[in-house]
């Protein structure tokens, strides 16, 4: 190392250099420097907010001023579980979420399979972009577009008109269609990624061992891609459970989201208690999903 002349004294004294040596020697401190802000924001502000909300489920609201009264009570939770209407709304929403998830999976599978295994690389890249683009954008625009399409004078009834059929779009069937539409890309992409991870050789091995394509699909492909389907279903399920805008635009029935939205202004504790329903369902769902290794497919 004689040919390289480094001014060692200046190196040692440069503050940036000293800092990097310091962090190298104390990886824990480096870690906490990195983590401080994210933990403060997500851990303290966000999780803290959630806890405050959950806690307020145990307070009461003054019926005249809507101000919170900090007296511990289980009445709100009792009301959620014992009032038939709210139980019905919860079941209706969960059933809707399940049906939407099912429809999304059924519609997503052929497209994802085609993208992953049939399409040429060029077409595949185009399709990925084609599915990604509507995923991120314009939730409200999409819901609004369907409101227009499903209306009595809209495109659907125009197309059905010659057959003498009319479709009441502003119904739960219509809402099911809209939800399926809204969350479909969230299902396509994880399934596509999951299918692409399956090595071709496994499918060939299955065929070599005498399995027909149906058997290969149900015994090899489907089990391997299942975590990806679960990953997609996290979104289709969770997004349906908490939505209050699409139901307002399309259906006249109440859903968990619309009830919370209606109540939070005057009865925050009850709204918070009702919000526990989707939270508990989703957290349980997430825990199961993590067990099934679905997070790797998000």
């Amino acid at each position: 190392m004689t040919s390289v002349s480094i001014d060692e004294a200046s190196l040692r004294q440069s503050p940036g250099r000293r800092l990097s040596t310091f962090f190298y020697r104390h990886p824990r401190l480096r870690l906490w420097t990195l983590l401080a802000l994210p933990v403060l924001w997500l851990g303290v502000v966000y999780i803290g907010s959630l806890l405050v909300l959950l806690l307020s489920a145990f307070w009461t609201a003054d019926p005249f001023t809507a101000k919170l009264v900090h007296e511990f009570t289980l009445d709100n939770l009792r009301r959620v579980f014992e009032t038939p209407v709210y139980r019905d709304v919860a079941f209706r929403t969960i059933r809707m979420a399940a049906l939407v998830t099912l429809a999304c999976a059924v519609l997503a599978f052929p497209l994802a399979y085609y993208m992953a295994r049939i399409a040429s690389p060029r077409v595949r890249n185009l399709l990925v972009v084609a599915v990604l683009m509507p995923l991120w954008g314009s939730y409200l625009v999409k819901a609004y577009a369907w409101r227009t399409i499903l209306s009595g004078e809209g495109a659907i009834n125009w197309a059905l008109g010659p057959f003498g059929v009319s479709f009441n779009g502003y119904s739960n069937t219509g809402l099911w269609l809209v939800f399926t539409y809204l969350w479909l890309p969230f299902m396509v992409l994880p399934i596509y990624a999951g299918l692409e991870r399956i090595p071709q050789s496994l499918l060939e091995a299955s065929a070599d061992l005498g399995a027909r394509s149906m058997r290969t699909f149900f015994r090899v492909t489907l089990p391997l891609v299942f975590p990806a389907v679960v990953a997609g279903s996290i979104f289709t399920f969770s997004l349906t459970l908490g939505d209050y805008i699409a139901p307002t635009l399309i259906s006249s029935d109440q859903f968990i989201g619309t009830v919370i939205y209606r109540e939070y202004g005057t009865a925050l504790p009850f709204a918070a208690a009702y919000a526990m329903v989707p939270i508990v369902v989703i957290v349980a769902y997430l825990l199961v999903a993590r067990k099934l290794k679905a997070f790797e497919s998000l």
Binding site: L31, V45, S56, L111, M133, G154, G242
Partner: protein
Amino acid sequence: MVESRLTRLFLRLGAGVTLFFIYFPLFVIALYAFNEKVTQRWPIEDWSTKWFSVAFHNESVREALEHSVLAGLGATAIALVLGTLASMAIARHRFFGREVMTFAVILPIALPGIVTGLALQATIKDVLSPLGVKFGLATIVIGHATFCVVVVYNNVLARLRRTAGNLDEASADLGADSWQTFRYVMFPQLRTALLAGGLLAFALSFDEIIVTIFTAGAIQTLPIWMYATLFRPTELPIVNVVALFVILVSVIPVYLAQRLAGGTGVAGGTTQRPARREP
């Protein structure tokens, strides 16, 4: 090929149906923007571009657009910082609570938006308002940043997993300080992932409404304006034009981000595209 000819035909058909389903409502609403009449009857009979100039000169639309852009930029900036820091910690360290942290990053988009919105509103009302932060642009940014972090985080994390961890050590051995290592070694590797994450975060923020309603107070962003206006039949032509505009603004960043980072994950790129496994 394991799939038979018939299976492939069916798959092609199914894929076509699904793609049509995804795009047909977007085209319909795009066409309505050129509808001359105020009524929303299908099929459209008279065409016109006059509503574009009406929308362009609408004061509340302009104001809402300005708020949306500012909120998007602010949220993206915060998400970039927090997401990068979190992903660096997760990618390069093993620590107690690491699992909890990965959970906490995903939670804001996994939990129903109404829960996040309600929780943030309660905190803003009880904690921030007494400190002088009133409902407005700042609180919108706080809400958006919370769920935008995950997008940047996922993009950067995916990139970090593909790059060698000892590069920063090598850089330090060669005499670089922390800043130089970041500037000349880490940043060039992360640049496109950051840009992609930032674009997606902006797209996510720009049209968000479910959380925004709870954090906005009296301020209107473009989606909130749309939501307030679409129940007024006479103003629907303007809503249609704004809808077309929102589609374009949210679609273009996603296209660019996809080109840059190539991620296919729902949350913005965890799943990298592997090489084709054909023999």
